[in-house]
Structures are given as structure tokens and as C-alpha cells.
Symmetry: none
Subunit: 188 residues, 4 copies
């Protein structure tokens, strides 16, 4: 597998995978993904050695994308609460804008196709947020909560929020704010 000619094709395949998996679940057929991406079945395997690999790379891509959104305009010097709020609100913005992406991301996380390496790399991607999360963690560790619990809880609550915003899109802004307050009460 030499350097790939066309990053566009790779992107097209990953995008198609999201759509197809959102529709059909993780058992979506590679042939259908390829078709939706506008490439031949065989071509998919020149970009990804196997379906498993495709799924792993897809997960990293989705994580990377959501982290990129959070990183954009991140107020590194603001107060802890302001920074936490930024994370909360920008992640939810992404999750609400691309419901299929979030849904597929969750499905992949819960499934058993993600290798240990993939999980480690996904974790590492969050390093930009580390100072913020680190500070929060520290306070909570002091309270007897385990390291990592903050992210896990935020993430879990965000999933819940996303579900609700999908049902009441008009209350979007309000929901994001009120739920942040709840999360903040829990973790600050």
C-alpha cells in the first residue's frame, strides 16, 4: 500500500461508511459502502486493508474531527468554567450537527472492533484539552473519584443531551446551557 493517490477517495469512503453504518449498523456491507462512495468494491481495499481497519480508522477520524471542533477557538487562558463550557458547547454543536457521525462513533466505541491501539490513540488525541480536564480531574480525584471519570461523565452526559436536543431542536441553546450547569455542579 504505497502513498495513496487520492485523499478525496479515502474521505469519500469514510463518509459513505458513516451513512451506511448509520443506516444498517456495523454489519453494513463493504460493497455498499464502496458503491455509495462511488468507487469499486476492490478499491476500498486499496485504501483500507480490511473492514476492521476501515472501522478503526473511521473511529479515529470521527474522534479527530470532534476534537478539532473543540480545539477551534479554545480559550486557553480563560477560567476553568469558561473552558469547560467551551468544550461542552462546541462538542454538542458538532454532535447535533452530525447526528450520524456521533451515532456511529458511539456504536464503534461500544462494539468490539476497536483495537487497544485505536483506543489508546483516541485517548491521546484529547491531549489539547488536558490542562482543562486535568484541573477538573485533580479536584475530583481529591474527592475520591478516579482519574478519567470527569471525561467519561461529561461524555456520557453529552450523549444524553444529544438525544434530547434531537427531539426538541428549538430548545437547543437552552438545553445545552442548563445541562452544562448540571454537569458543572456535579464536577466542579
Amino acid at each position: 500500500m504505497a502513498r495513496l493517490r487520492s485523499p478525496e477517495k479515502r474521505k469519500a469512503i469514510l463518509d459513505a461508511a458513516v451513512q451506511e453504518i448509520a443506516r444498517e449498523g456495523l454489519s453494513a456491507a463493504t460493497a455498499k459502502i464502496a458503491e455509495r462512495a462511488g468507487v469499486a468494491t476492490g478499491t476500498l481495499f486499496t485504501y483500507f486493508a480490511s473492514k476492521e481497519q476501515l472501522l478503526n480508522e473511521l473511529y479515529l477520524d470521527l474522534k479527530s474531527e470532534s476534537y478539532a471542533v473543540i480545539s477551534e477557538g479554545f480559550p486557553h487562558k480563560a477560567s476553568l468554567e469558561r473552558r469547560a463550557w467551551h468544550i461542552w458547547q462546541s462538542y454538542l454543536g458538532w454532535a447535533i450537527q452530525f447526528p450520524e457521525k456521533r451515532r456511529v462513533s458511539v456504536q464503534l466505541k461500544v462494539s468490539d472492533v476497536l483495537t487497544a491501539e485505536t483506543q489508546a490513540r483516541a485517548l491521546a488525541m484529547g491531549s489539547a484539552l488536558e490542562p482543562t480536564l486535568g484541573e477538573l480531574e485533580k479536584r475530583n480525584v481529591a474527592r475520591g473519584l478516579p482519574a478519567g471519570f470527569v471525561s467519561a461523565t461529561m461524555s456520557a452526559m453529552q450523549d444524553a443531551v444529544t438525544e434530547f436536543v434531537a427531539k426538541q431542536p428549538k430548545k437547543r441553546a437552552e438545553l445545552i446551557e442548563r445541562t452544562f450547569q448540571a454537569a458543572w455542579r456535579a464536577l466542579k
Copy 2:
């Protein structure tokens, strides 16, 4: 009279399904499930019309089991906090004792095999907890949080907790308690 359909066999199939799905994901083969349950491939289909139905009934069974655990010894007349604590601690007890069951339950919930009816019935099962959750909801609705958000959040946080307890079983009791305090801060 011929042999009667035995509840034991049904149970054996559901148990086998949990194990097999925990190991292989939702694409676990019906033949393997049957084998593990000690019945013939065809027998599985006299108890469940299709794999999809097996999965739906499995989900309801798991939900039913976890609700039964919560209901046991529920302190109907205690304070709201005491009641919330009972739910928190008894559910986590179940989730930690049967990690595969919880894992499979989550996988099913996130997947797309659950019919609308199954989801509705699962929801209805929680009615015993209603007074407690209802009280909590009311307070939170007043704050602009949507109805159902309490359960969703608790459930999401519990998933996070379970993950951590699995990694540090010795801190089990402490983790359950501290995380409850966090959840309580968020939702009371």
C-alpha cells in the same frame, strides 16, 4: 401431550446469547448460541421466531432483571435522597456483578435492532421507580431540563461508573458512593 416448551431452555438460550454476544458482538451466530445453550440450531427458532426477535426479547429480559434488582427492598417511604441512593447502588451492584449483561444491554440499546415496541416496553418497565424519578424530574424540569433527562443522565453516569469499577474492583464501594454524590449534586 407432547413435551412442553420449557422456560429453562428459553433461559438457557438467553444466557448463552449474553455470553456469545459479549464475546463476538451482535453478529454472534445463532448456531453458536444454540450450541452453547445445549440445544439444536433449530430449537432456538421454536423459542424465538428470528434472531431479531431473540435480540429484542433478550433486551427486555435484561432490563426486567435489572429493574427487579432495583425494586427489591426499595424504600418507598424514605427520603428522596435515600431512594435515589437505593437505585444508584442497587443498579450498579447488578451491573458490576454481571458485566456481560450490562455490556450486551448497552450494545443492544445503541444498535438498530430494537423495535419501537421493545423500546416502549422497556420504558414502561421502569414504572415502579416513577414516583422517585418523577420527583427528581419535576425539580429539574423546573430548571429547564427536559423530562426524562434525569434517568438518561443517571443511566449515562452509571455506565461510566461501571467501567471504572471494573478496572478498580477494590474501590468499588467508595466509587459507588462518591459518584452518587456527584450525580446528586447535578440533579437534586
Copy 3:
């Protein structure tokens, strides 16, 4: 398999087989036939040793029934044409009244489930018509047509007629008569 208690049950199974095969083809499931007959799956096999046997007996029953209809009121002493006409008209009456029976009979004949013995016995049943058909055959054999061709042709033409009457039930009487005239021209 001792003497069977209930000829009614046997009849019910055969009737159910006709309906089910008319609907589903020869691959109709024995379980469905039993269900439609109002007996248990196992019971079917106390009346017929195997599905193949059920099918063979069904064929003989259908033949027997249609021959019985023809034999009723057969004008043994009438002219050859009158006798041929009786056969033509009474058989078509049955075929039109019970389209499923005729259809299933045809399907069985064309299939490969009928044993040599069954075919021989079906042929033997027609013995009552022998004098009439024999006379017709004789004339035709003299013309270089093979023995048996008369029955085969009549039967083939009757199948065609039945099809057409089904589509134009109002012209029933006229069609039966005109087609007899055509058949008679061919074979007299």
C-alpha cells in the same frame, strides 16, 4: 400403522394439502398442512408415512374423485358421441368447480414425486370409461395414432378449456360445448 381411527382426519389432511399446495406449490410444509387440517404435525405422519406418500395418495384421491364424477349417471348405452360428451362435460364441471384440485393434480402429474405404481393405479381407475375410450382409441389407432393418445389429448384440451372458463365464467356452457365439438372433430 393399524387401521386408522378417523377417516375424517385423513380427509381433512388431504383437503388441507390441496389448499396449501395450491397456495405454496409442492414445497408446502407438512406442518402447515397439518395446521390447516386442525391436527398436530405428528398426527399427519400417523396417516401418511411420509410427505411423498401423502402426495401420492393425494393424487390418487383427486383422480378417484374426478372419475367418480364422470361415472355418475354415465350413459353406458348411449352413442359413442353421447358418451364422449358426458365425459367431457362432467369432467370439466368438476375441474371448474374445484380449480385448486385440478391445479394440484396437474402439478403432481408434472412433478417427479409420483411413483410408477401410483401412475399405474391412476390409469387403472379409468377402467369404467374403457369401453368408450377403447372405441375411440380403436378408430384412432387405425389411423396411426398411438394407444392412449385419445385420453391424453382430451385431457390436454380439457386443461386448456378449464383455463379459459376460469377467465370467462359466463361463457362456461358455450365454451364447454364448442370445445367438445373441436375435440370431437379431431378424434372421432
Copy 4:
């Protein structure tokens, strides 16, 4: 470019289907058909979306083939009797030369796998014979016989003839001729 779907392989599958169905009936296994055709089980499904479709296309192919035989050297300008004779004799030639093909064709026709569209298309294929059959029909319609009865009768009689020629191959030529005379008497 990848390999192109080869008409030879399609043909091989259809041929194999004829042999296998002649032997086993319509329940012949697709796997066996594929094996006999010298392709993998899966390959069959790249040429035919389902067994049902295979069966429908097979029927059309068989009809097409027999019509092609009839069309070859058709004496468009000869007398009605000469043209009818051509149809009679060339069809029977084909049916006798390929008994399995005829047998399978009949089984398909009687079965319930043929879609309405397939039946319509099969009918449309006979359009080349229309002038001839049309003339015959006209005469018979005048006599009160329904349109389409001529073809149906000829077809039904031909099936009977084929059966007899199979048993007495030596009398082939004579049987074909004598039976034509009988048919002609009936329909002219």
C-alpha cells in the same frame, strides 16, 4: 477493467439448471446447479439475483429458444395449413430433441414461480407466429371459441404428442404427421 460478466457462464448456469431441475424438480438446490455449471455457489447470484429470478429467466430462455426454432425457415407466404404444419413439426422437433428442456418448461409453467411479467413477456415472444395463429384464431372465434384457445390447444396437444414420441421414437415422423392431422381437423 475487471473481468466482464460472461454470457458463457450465464448459459452454463441455465443449462445446469435444466439438467438439475429435470432430475430433482423445482426444488433443485442452487448450490448443485452452480456446481454442475462449474462455478462457485456465490457466482450464481451475480448472474441471477435470486433463485426465483433464475427460474423466471430460465423460462424465458426456453421459450425464446423454442420460438427461435419455429421461426427458422418459417414459410411466411405458404398456405395456412403449410404454416401450421411448420409450427407443429418444428416445435415438436425441438421438444423431442431436448426432452429435459420441454419438461422443465412445463414444470415452470404449472408452478407458481412465474411472475405476471414473465408470463406476459413469454406471450409477447410468439408475435412472429401471430399472422398464422391469428388467422386460425379468427376462424375459431367465429365458432364461439375464445381467443387464445388455438395456441393453448396446440400447445396442450403437443405436450401429449411429445410424451408418446418419447416412448416410440421410431414412429416419430408418423406420429408427428398423424397428430397434426387430428389437430388440423379440430381447428381448421
